[in-house]
Amino acid sequence: MIPAGAPLAVLTPESERALASLRRAILRMGGFGFYVVLSGDLGRVELLRRLRAWSGTEGIPELHFFPEGKEAAAKIDRFLAESDRKHPLGGAVIPDGGALFEVDGGSIYGALNIARDMLGKLVQGPLVLVIPEHRLKDLVRLATDLFEVRLATLLVEREHTPVPPSPERVEEGRARRVALAEPNMGVATIFVGRDDELREIEAALLPATGEVQPVALQGMPGVGKSYLADRFAYLHKDRFPGGYVKLSLSPEEKRSTEALGGDLAARLGQNLWGTDQAWAMLRARLLSPRVLLHIENADGDEAAAAAMELASRLAECAVIVSGRFQGLGLSRPWRRVEVPVLDEEAALMQLAKEIAPPLWAKIRAEDRSTLVGELGYLPLALHLAAGYLRRGQSIDRLLQLFRAEKLSLSQDPAQVERIVGLALERSIRLLGEALGDKAETWLPAFFALGEAPPSGVGRSLGAAIAGLKEHEFEELMSRAEELSLVQRLPDGERSEGAWRVHPLLAALLRQRSDGRGLEGMTRWFLARLRKGGEDQGLRWNQIQREEEALITWLGRVPPENKVRVLKASLWYPISNGPYPAWLDFSERLLQERNEPDIRSSALWTLSHIALRSDNLDRAYDAAREMSRLNLARGAKRETAIAAGLIAEILTARGDLDEALRTWREDVLPVFESLGEARARAVTLGKIADILVTRGDLDEALRIRREEELPVYERLGEVRERAIALGKVADILMTRGEIDEALRIIREEELPVFERLGERHSLVRDRINMTHLLLKRDHPTDRREAASLLALALRDAEVMHIPEADQIRAIQKRHGL
């Protein structure tokens, strides 16, 4: 779901234009000059990422990044102090490239001064300073006139505006939920070889004649199985208009086939789950428009079995399962494609592509061959070594290390792990050096990332796992990315910045982790799950952006924390899902715990989720069990809540008489006896709903106006009042009182939902308003209706809710 109010690093069009101007300025000055970019706090990370991406591209020299200008200045000072050259400024610290400084702390004037001195003396390329806008306020005139800054431009970022979403954001939402437009940055540029394997996959998934076969990519860790699948997706993206969906299994994967299918369905916007019909819907969704599904990390036997069974339930769909499990794809109808290590030529090509040409040219041909051989022609090891060499490290030291270990590659996973482990060791040491004084605390933080979900984590959650502040985490990731230790997820997938660790590296990191990662993840989710408060929209949106991490985490929550999670998350799962994962969580909790109050809560959650998933039988069974359990222990209130749930399920089944009786006889008297005014008002609202359905509008309107609304107004229940008012509007609409109905929705209901960021309610309200406007048919009503429907459709498409089809039908019927 598109987040409402989440702080995204979205640069304004003005800022984009300014950035483009800056790039032109550098290019036209021949990659030289002193530039200051002013930035707000929110967009600085995005800005730095964009500036760093320019490094070494199309006429811009390599930009050495100094995250903190003051620190960098101190480093330069030390360098000069230790230098024995004739003139202190006679040599060049950065002879070939430029420098990019992030300046925040310390004296801005000092930083400008030092940077100005460095230009052309210590730094031969462009020198770019990124300075917080508010910090340069008083010095801006000096910066532009005294310090010879060639371009001082203001980059203002904006927060994401939740309503209405722009078409681009809708597209991003689609991409995030359904597909990765560009599966992996490197597949387009760095990928080498594998022509035979790609042909085999194509023959299986895109046959000229005959049936589609599921593909099993099997190979040792780090050999590039997922990368190969990504490459295939990239090469054939036109053949899969429904997109490319990745389902990442975790090392301790325990999800059943059913749970995996449910999670996949949720990813595709399908809420219905738990029935044969749901499987048929999922299959239909994957077939048209055609989706390429990749289930990765099928490494253990349980995970591989679940993945293969999932694929078998999705006959004729394009499915790739990749993993190191030896038995993967051995039976019919699978097409098993074994992925070997690269040959020497391809290995050399990969290394050459990952290293800047000047650096590559400096390595002797025999050293290149020796190195790729020592690295076992293993793509992951080559990738790590490239990061090591890019940092200017000596190839000899790397070779010595491997020679000392006398390693040779075989199919033995332990041997592979040692090779990758050695390369990783060197990279971690470099990371430590790059971190300097921070290494002592930040390296353990990095190791904790081994516990991160395999699908990757965003900045906020990643920081929690690492036990760092967000900006610290971002810096750590930048350093790790430079050393190929982590991969930044493509913008099409996560535009706000997210990273993933290769599963094999993650496994090696976990060996060193102090276990803080899971604790951090638990703290992060618990802090965001609760309902209520002005920041609910923001918190819940943050979770929604980490939906895959949520699924992984729910499968890992330690038993001692499960009850805390259950109690903290009463409403989140019902409102947001993903239903299969929460269903699975609740079912497991019920298997583990016998305490009546815990079981009651778990059954309540489970029943609600099953109801939302249209799995009415499971919902009814859970509600009945909850009712029996609470009746037995004399818990009146909980018994009434269970009865209310049963009434809702009866309503969903169409048994309105029994539902009305239940509300009136089993629920309402209990809340009246307990003096629970709010619960009584809610119950009366449910009764009114049924009365409306049965055509008793006057009584329904009386209940709403006289019994329900006054309670919400007295209690300050803004949201409930808005919902009740919407229902009053529904009744008025049915009675033909269109103007008043429109007024209520426009003035009293919509503003509340907009404030709360309740997108689904907004969609419904806009559809209702459309109906009213079309019915009233004043001169400007059709135009307003068309505009409202367009807004509603955007949101509905982003959320993949059935209302999207409803809206399209209205548009078609009325020619809007």
Partner: protein, 450 residues
């Protein structure tokens, strides 16, 4: 470099950076209009605009004549002007003039000390300047330096310096270079320490320089007139304003010692200094004259009717047209140059900046009117951001009668001039007049002030 590669600005004079002069492409326009590169007097003559008329005479030519006609008696000159008014370009031209023999006057020997390059502009004192001059002499006249400076260094200075700067080389030239670097880069306390030490050797430092100058001026025959020796210190006016008291102390107290040098001195001076209470005694103290390089007068005084000054607009437009073919590159053609001239208020650097910012909005020509407006708005935003509300009433007053109010505090005056909120014009008349920068006049803070 292949023909298709853009020339790089590093180490090249401005006009050599472009494929065509005036620019026919946007890339060349950016390279030819680099606001921070002074023009090379010989190589960039093709794009140099003679502004003598519109500036009311050539003050620097007068300095050159004065030096030639001084008959060997050292003279001292201060050159002032706004940042970005073209001082360095004109100083380099003057240097070129002096290097040529003229009539009976032999070519002058010139030492150009770029304070920005060699000194720490956040903190400069007399000792730093003297040491930088020593280093400059070593670089440009090594033989004379070896004969004159070497013995004095060994005899009277090296031991003092060694106490502060560790690992000082035995060879004098290298040692001097290292001390200059040390002074430039050391922290404030260390700086003071070495200055205190060198201060005790100020006499020998000056004496050494004078001896070196004598060596250099030694004529080949008894009939030869000795060549004038000129020390030109540029960019000294860019001294950090945070060190205001030190700046005033340097100019008003410490640099008096430079008068003992047997050389003509031309020193740049912050524009505000002569007009503040502290700077009022400058001429009395040093003698000589302050030459101001004013902005191009693109506007007329209020007393003369206000509005555009056609001659100034034309001069600035012509200056820009020497660098860029507006007909080919700008949607508005020559009108664009005229608009830039108006936006700039006659500040050459601002005009070039606006031009470059507008050009860099486009991958290909034409540069639109909207881009030009945005470029000007960008600079206006800089002013808006930096302009303290408290200055606005004074600005309003200046706009009304083209002079600073009598009760304007020195500090405000200094800031208004230094940051170009207020521009100084002096078109031939002895007294300067002032106007608010056109882009400041467009600022919200200024406009909304009742």
């Amino acid at each position: 470099m292949s023909a298709s590669e853009p020339p790089t600005p590093r180490g090249l004079s401005v006009s050599k950076r472009a494929f065509s002069v005036p620019a026919r492409t946007l890339g060349d326009a950016v390279r030819l209009c680099d606001p921070w590169s002074p023009l090379n007097p010989s190589e960039d003559a093709v794009i140099h605009e003679d502004l003598t008329k519109v500036r009311g005479g050539d003050g620097l030519a007068k300095i050159a004549r004065n030096i030639r006609r001084a008959g060997g008696v050292p003279t001292l000159h201060f050159v002032s002007g706004h940042i970005g008014s073209g001082k360095t370009t004109e100083l380099l031209r003057m240097m070129q003039q002096l290097r040529r023999a003229e009539g009976a006057s032999p070519p002058a020997k010139m030492f150009f000390l770029d304070a920005e390059e060699r000194l720490d502009r956040s903190d400069i004192d007399l000792e730093d300047i003297l040491m930088a001059l020593w280093a400059l002499v070593y670089e440009e006249a090594p033989e004379a330096a070896a004969r004159a400076l070497g013995p004095i260094w060994k005899r009277q200075i090296s031991e003092i310096a060694k106490k502060i700067v560790t690992g000082l080389p035995g060879e004098a030239a290298e040692a001097v270079s290292k001390v200059v670097g040390y002074v430039r880069l050391a922290g404030p306390e260390k700086k003071q320490e070495i200055r205190n030490a060198l201060g005790s050797a100020a006499g020998p430092l000056v004496e050494g320089l004078n001896l070196a100058f004598q060596e250099m001026q030694r004529p080949d025959s008894v009939d030869d007139e000795p060549a004038p020796l000129v020390i030109l210190i540029d960019n000294l006016e860019k001294l950090t304003e945070a060190q205001r008291i030190n700046v005033e102390r340097l100019y008003l107290e410490r640099m008096v010692a430079l008068k003992r040098l047997e050389a003509h001195m031309v020193i740049t001076l912050p524009i505000y200094l002569p007009y503040t209470a502290a700077g009022a005694g400058l001429i009395g103290l040093y003698g000589g004259k302050i030459v101001v390089l004013p902005m191009i007068e693109t506007r007329r005084r209020v007393a003369h009717g206000g509005g555009d000054n056609p001659a100034g607009i034309e001069a600035m437009t012509h200056l820009l047209e020497k660098r860029v073919r507006f007909e080919d590159l700008f949607e508005e053609k020559r009108t664009a140059a005229e608009r830039i001239a108006r936006f700039s208020g006659g500040c050459i650097r601002h005009a070039l900046r606006i031009l470059v910012d507008a050009v860099n909005e486009h991958d290909n020509p034409p540069v639109t009117a909207a881009s030009l407006d945005r470029a000007a708005a960008g600079m206006q935003a800089d002013f808006e951001r930096a302009l303290p509300e408290a200055y606005v009433p004074v600005l309003r007053q200046i706009a009304k009668d083209n002079r600073f109010p009598d009760n304007c505090p020195d500090e405000m005056k200094r800031n208004l001039l230094r940051h170009l909120f207020v521009l100084e014009y002096q078109n031939g008349a002895p007294d300067p007049w002032y106007a608010v920068h056109p882009l400041v006049e467009r600022c919200r803070k200024y406009r909304e002030h009742a």
